[in-house]
C-alpha cells in the first residue's frame, strides 16, 4: 500500500509516495538520494544510519518512512553550512576520528544531538551518546576526543 508523506530533510521539503514497508533509511538513500547516511546492519544494531529526527538521534533503519511524515530530519549532508564545515566535522578531521568513514555520519549525528541538547556534557554523557555506535577502526578514543574538541570550541564561541 502506498502512502503520501511530507518530510523536511535538511531544510528541504519532500512530498513522496512510499510503500508501508519502506524504512526511513531507504527513503533517505534511495528516494531522496542522500547517500551520506550509511546502512551497516538494517537492524538498529550498529548506529551507522543515525539521523536526527525532531531533535533526537534515531536509527533510520528501524523507523518506517511513514512514521516520519511531518518530521524534520537532519542528515550528515545537512550538518554545517553550505560553505562552512560544522565544528564537529572540523574536529573529526583534526583528531583523525574518521578512518574508513562508514560509521562517521552516524557518530556525527549522535554528537550533534548531544551538543544541541547539553551545553556542558560530561565524559559520561559523551560515552552514553556514542554508546551503541559501533566502529571497528578507531578504538573510539579519537571519536570521543573529537566531540570534546567541538564542545570546547562551541563554548569558546
Amino acid at each position: 500500500m502506498k502512502h503520501s508523506i511530507k518530510v523536511n530533510i535538511n531544510g528541504q521539503l519532500y512530498l513522496e509516495e512510499v510503500e508501508t514497508s519502506m524504512t526511513l533509511l531507504q527513503f533517505i538513500r534511495d528516494k531522496v538520494g542522500l547517500t551520506g547516511t550509511k546502512s551497516g546492519c538494517e537492524n538498529g544494531e550498529c548506529g551507522a544510519c543515525t539521523v536526527i529526527m525532531n531533535g533526537n538521534p534515531v536509527r533510520s533503519c528501524i523507523i518506517l518512512a511513514v512514521e516520519a511524515d511531518g518530521a524534520e530530519i537532519i542528515t550528515v549532508e545537512g550538518l554545517g553550512e553550505k560553505d562552512k564545515l560544522h565544528p564537529l566535522q572540523q574536529s573529526f578531521i583534526e583528531t583523525g576520528a574518521a578512518q574508513c568513514g562508514f560509521c562517521t555520519p552516524g557518530m556525527l549525528m549522535a554528537g550533534k544531538a548531544l551538543l544541541d541538547k547539553k551545553k556542558n556534557p560530561s565524559n559520561e554523557d559523551i560515552t552514553e551518546a556514542l554508546g551503541g555506535h559501533l566502529c571497528r577502526c578507531t578504538g573510539y578514543k579519537s571519536i570521543s576526543k573529537a566531540v570534546e574538541v567541538a564542545l570546547s570550541k562551541n563554548n569558546r564561541n
Binding site: T35, G40, E42, E45, L85, F92, C137, G139
Partner: protein, 770 residues
C-alpha cells in the same frame, strides 16, 4: 635525521569527504537499468546436493536469471584451485551459495529464491581443525590431491591441504637438558572482521568480452586476475574499480563475492547487476579469520634461557582454503614469537573445516601463535621463580640473535629489548591500584613480532603527475580503507619532492585499467612497498624535469640545479609547472613534452622457505613490540575491566604519529574483542553460525574501552623502507590476547588458554577452583 613532512601528524586528506557524507562507497552507486541479485545459501555445513530445481523461480515476473553451480565456471583459486563461485555437487559450509537469482529488485530476487527446490543429503561435518585432522573425520575435499596448487603448497591428503615445517637444532637432546618443561594447548577462535561496510559489488559484462566491476575490495588486481582465470577475458578489458572501502581488516582481500558477481553479470550481458550482502550474510558468506589451535611445549634452563620449543598447530581453514595457505606460512615464520629458540620443531597444518573460508585477518598467522608462546613463557618464568619481564628480556631476539628460520637479526629490525623494557617500566612503575574488595587486579605483558607474510615478489607501482600549477597527483593502486594510507603516501611524496603536503593529491579510487599495478593492500605492506615506489617515481620525475630544463636552457643536464619547485641554471629560472605539460618556444613550437614520474618497486632477495626445514630468507622484514595490560577481575560477576593498555612498538620511522597511533589502538581494540567477547559460535546440530548479528557477536564498544591507553614508538629506521618507515596496520593485533590472559592469571591465579575468556568462564573457574 629530520624531515619536513615525514614524522608530522598531517591532517588526513580524506577527512572532508568522509565527514560530509560525500565519500562514495560501492553501495552508494546506481547505474542505469541496474538489476539486483540475491543468493540462496546452504543451511547445512556439509551435504551432497542431490538436485536443484529452479524452473518455478525462473517463471516469476521480474526475474532475469537463476544460476546454480552447473551454470558457472570453476574451480579457481590463487594458491589452491578448490572453490566454485556457486557450490557444485556438494556444499562444504553453511552459508555457501547454492543458487543466485537476478531480478528487477532485491525483493523479487528474494521471493524467487524461495521457489528454488534443493534436495540435500546431509553429511557428517567438522568445525574444529583438530577434529578435522584426526582419523575418521569426514573428508571435505575428496579430490584434494588432484587440485592445481601453487609451488609452495604441499597437500598431505584427507583434510590437510598444507604442512609447513620449521626444523632447527636437536629438540630431543635440548628437552632432556631442560630444567623446566611447560606445555599448553591454545585456541584462537574463528572471528569475523566486522567491517562496518557490508560487502557489495556491481558488475556489467558486455559482448565485446569486457567487464566492469565496482567492488568493496582491498585487492582489485587480484579480482581482475581471478575474473580472467574464470572467464578468459583479456586483462586489458577487465576494469575493476575500488573506491573508498568501509573497513577491510583482511576480510575484503583476495576474492570474496567477486567471482560470483562476475558470473551473475555474464548471465545478463549489458546489464549492471548488484549484490549487496546483509549483515547476516557477511558472517556466513564471506571469509572469517583465525581458527588457530596450537599445542606447544617449551623447555628452559634454570638460568632462564629457552632451550627448545616444539609446536603442532592446526589452522581451521573453512570449506575452501586458498588464501589460508599464507596464514599457515605466517604461523610457521612467527612460530617462536620474538624469542631466540636454538632448538625448534614446528609443524603447522592447514586443515579444511566445514566453516566459511578463513582468509586474511589483521595480523594473520601471528596472534594465533603468540598465544601459546607468551602463555608458556609466563608459565615457565613462574616455575623458575623468575620475574616474567626479566625472563623475557633474557630471550628476546635482540640484534645479532638468530630467529626460527635462520635469519640473523639486524639493527634495522628494531629494538625489541627496549620495547619490552619500556612497557615493563611503565606497567610496574607503581603498586597495583586498589579497586575495592571485589576486584582482583592483575598485570601482564606479551612481546611480539610481525612480518608481512606475502608472496616473495609482490609489486608496487605509482605515477606522479605534475600539474601546471605545481601541484602533484599521486596515482596508486593501493586502497584506502581507513588506515590512512593516502595521507601517509602523500607525506612521502611531499618529502621526496620537497613540495608542501597540501600540494599533493591522491587519486581516491583504484581502477585496474588506469591505475598502476599494486599486488593488493594487505600485510601492512603499503607504506613500505608503495612508499618505496614513490621514492623512485620522485627521482624519475626530477630527472625528467632536469632533462626538459636542459633543453630549454640549452645546456647539459648536470648543470641544472633543483631548488624547491624551481629549476636553475646560472641566473635562469624555470618553475616546475612551466614544464609540466611541455615547454613552448617563443615562436609557439613545442620544445619538450609532458612530465610524469614513474616508480616500480619489488622486494629483492625474499625466498620461499626450504620445504623441509622452513629455513631461509623468507620474511622481508620484521617489526617488534611489546604489550602491557593492567586489569581488574570482578569476583562477584567474573567481568573484566581493562584499566591500562600499553604498547611500545619499533616500527621504524613513523610517518604520521596520529594515524600510526590510531592504527595500533584499532588493532588492539579488535583483539580485545576476540579475547573477551567475540568468537563465532556454531550450532551443534547443523554446524551453522548462531551469532550472525551484532548483538550476539559483540565487538568492543566505546563503553568497553580501557581508561588509559598509552602507545609509544621506538623509531629504529628500517633500511629497506622509505625514510626508514615500515608497516604498522596490523601489529596492534598481535600481542593483546596473551597479555590479557597473563594479567588474568596474575589477578586470579587461573590459567586460561582458550579465547574468548568470558565472564561466565571466569566465574566457573573461580567457583570450581580450577
Amino acid at each position: 635525521m629530520t624531515f619536513k613532512y615525514v614524522g608530522k601528524s598531517c591532517t588526513r586528506n580524506d577527512g572532508v569527504e568522509k565527514t560530509t557524507g560525500r565519500a562514495l562507497f560501492v553501495a552508494d552507486m546506481k547505474f542505469p537499468g541496474m538489476l539486483h541479485a540475491k543468493v540462496l545459501r546452504s543451511p547445512y555445513a556439509h551435504a551432497k546436493i542431490k538436485s536443484i530445481d529452479t524452473s518455478e523461480a525462473l517463471r516469476q515476473p521480474g526475474v532475469f536469471a537463476v544460476l546454480t553451480g552447473e551454470d558457472v565456471p570453476g574451480p579457481f583459486g590463487v594458491a589452491i584451485a578448490d572453490q566454485y563461485p556457486i557450490a557444485r555437487n556438494k556444499v562444504r559450509y553453511a552459508g555457501e551459495p547454492v543458487a543466485a537469482a537476478i531480478a528487477i529488485n532485491e525483493r523479487a530476487a528474494h521471493e524467487a529464491l524461495k521457489l528454488v527446490k534443493v534436495e540435500y543429503e546431509p553429511l557428517p561435518f567438522v568445525i574444529h581443525p583438530k577434529d578435522a585432522a584426526s582419523e575418521g573425520a569426514p573428508i571435505i575435499h575428496e579430490n584434494l590431491m588432484n587440485y592445481h596448487v601453487a609451488p609452495y603448497v604441499n597437500p598431505v591428503g584427507k583434510n590437510i591441504y598444507q604442512h609447513f615445517k620449521v626444523r632447527k637444532g636437536d629438540i630431543e637432546e635440548a628437552f632432556n637438558k631442560a630444567d623446566v618443561v611447560v606445555e599448553a594447548e591454545t585456541w584462537f577462535p574463528y572471528i569475523h572482521h566486522v567491517q562496518l561496510e557490508p560487502h557489495c559489488a556491481i558488475a556489467q559484462y558486455n559482448l565485446d568480452d569486457s567487464m566492469i566491476m565496482y567492488s568493496t575490495t582491498q585487492a582489485p588486481f587480484v579480482v581482475q586476475s581471478c575474473m580472467q582465470e574464470l572467464h578468459g577475458m583479456p586483462l586489458s578489458k577487465i576494469q575493476v574499480v575500488a573506491p573508498y572501502i568501509g573497513g577491510g581488516f583482511g576480510g575484503k582481500s583476495d576474492i570474496t563475492i567477486e567471482a560470483l558477481v562476475s558470473c551473475l553479470a555474464k548471465a545478463v550481458p549489458g546489464r549492471f547487476v548488484r549484490l549487496l550482502l546483509t549483515r547476516e550474510e557477511m558472517f556466513i558468506g564471506t571469509t572469517l579469520g583465525r581458527g588457530g589451535y596450537c599445542k606447544y611445549k617449551v623447555g628452559v634452563s634454570k638460568e632462564g634461557k629457552i632451550l627448545a620449543m616444539e609446536g603442532e598447530s592446526y589452522l581451521g581453514s573453512g570449506g575452501n582454503a586458498d588464501y589460508a595457505v599464507n596464514i599457515v606460512t605466517g604461523m610457521g615464520l612467527a612460530g617462536t614469537g620474538p624469542y631466540e629458540v636454538p632448538n625448534l620443531k614446528l609443524d603447522v597444518y592447514g586443515v579444511y573445516t566445514n566453516t566459511p573460508p578463513i582468509g586474511a585477518s589483521r595480523g594473520y598467522g601471528h596472534p594465533e601463535v603468540h598465544l601459546p608462546v607468551e602463555r608458556l613463557l609466563e608459565k615457565a618464568a613462574r616455575k623458575l621463580g623468575m620475574d616474567p619481564a626479566e625472563f623475557r628480556l633474557k630471550n628476546l631476539l635482540a640484534e645479532g640473535k638468530v630467529n626460527g628460520i635462520g635469519q640473523v637479526m639486524k639493527h634495522e629490525n628494531g629494538n625489541v629489548v627496549l620495547c619490552a623494557q619500556k612497557v615493563a617500566e611503565e606497567l610496574y612503575k607503581s603498586p597495583k591500584p586498589d579497586k575495592g574488595e571485589n576486584i582482583m587486579v592483575g598485570r601482564g605483558m606479551a612481546a611480539y613480532m610481525k612480518t608481512p607474510c606475502m608472496p616473495t615478489n609482490v609489486q608496487s607501482s605509482v605515477y606522479l603527475k605534475l600539474n601546471v600549477d605545481g601541484s602533484v597527483t599521486l596515482a596508486t593502486g593501493a586502497i584506502e580503507m581507513g588506515q590512512g594510507t593516502y595521507t601517509a603516501l602523500a607525506q612521502i611524496v611531499a618529502e621526496a619532492l620537497d613540495i608542501p603536503y597540501e600540494k599533493v593529491n591522491v587519486t581516491n579510487k583504484v581502477d585496474t585499467l588506469i591505475s598502476p599495478y599494486e599486488w593488493q593492500t594487505v600485510a601492512s605492506h603499503g607504506t613500505w612497498g608503495t612508499g618505496n615506489a614513490i621514492l623512485l617515481a620522485a627521482e624519475d620525475l626530477k630527472s625528467k624535469l632536469k632533462e626538459s630544463a636542459s633543453k630549454v636552457f640549452d645546456t647539459d643536464v648536470k648543470n641544472i640545479k633543483i631548488e624547491g619547485d624551481k629549476l636553475i641554471y646560472n641566473d635562469k629560472v624555470l618553475k616546475w609547472g612551466d614544464l609540466a605539460l611541455g615547454y613552448k618556444n617563443p615562436d609557439g613550437s613545442a620544445l619538450t613534452g609532458p612530465v610524469i614520474g614513474e616508480g616500480h618497486f619489488v622486494p629483492k632477495g625474499v625466498q620461499n622457505p626450504d620445504p623441509e626445514t622452513g629455513q631461509g630468507n623468507a620474511a622481508a622484514d620484521w617489526t617488534f613490540g611489546c604489550v602491557g595490560v593492567e586489569l581488574g577481575v570482578d569476583k562477584t560477576t567474573g567481568e573484566i575491566h581493562i584499566y591500562r593498555l600499553l604498547n611500545t612498538i619499533d616500527a621504524g620511522t613513523i610517518v604520521n604519529p596520529q594515524v600510526a597511533r590510531d592504527q595500533v589502538l584499532g588493532g588492539m581494540t579488535m583483539v580485545l574483542g576476540s579475547t573477551l567477547t567475540e568468537g563465532i559460535v556454531f550450532s551443534e546440530d547443523k554446524g551453522n553460525i548462531r551469532n550472525n548479528n551484532l548483538v550476539d557477536y559483540k565487538i568492543i564498544g566505546i563503553e568497553d574501552m580501557p581508561e588509559e591507553v598509552l602507545i609509544n614508538f621506538v623509531e629504529t629506521p628500517e633500511e629497506s623502507g622509505p625514510y626508514g618507515a615500515k608497516g604498522i596496520g596490523e601489529h596492534g593485533a598481535v600481542g593483546p590476547a596473551p597479555a590479557i590472559l597473563n594479567a588474568i592469571y596474575d589477578a586470579t591465579g587461573k590459567d586460561f588458554y582458550e579465547l574468548p575468556v568470558t565472564a561466565e568462564k571466569i566465574m566457573m573457574a573461580l567457583e570450581g577452583g580450577k
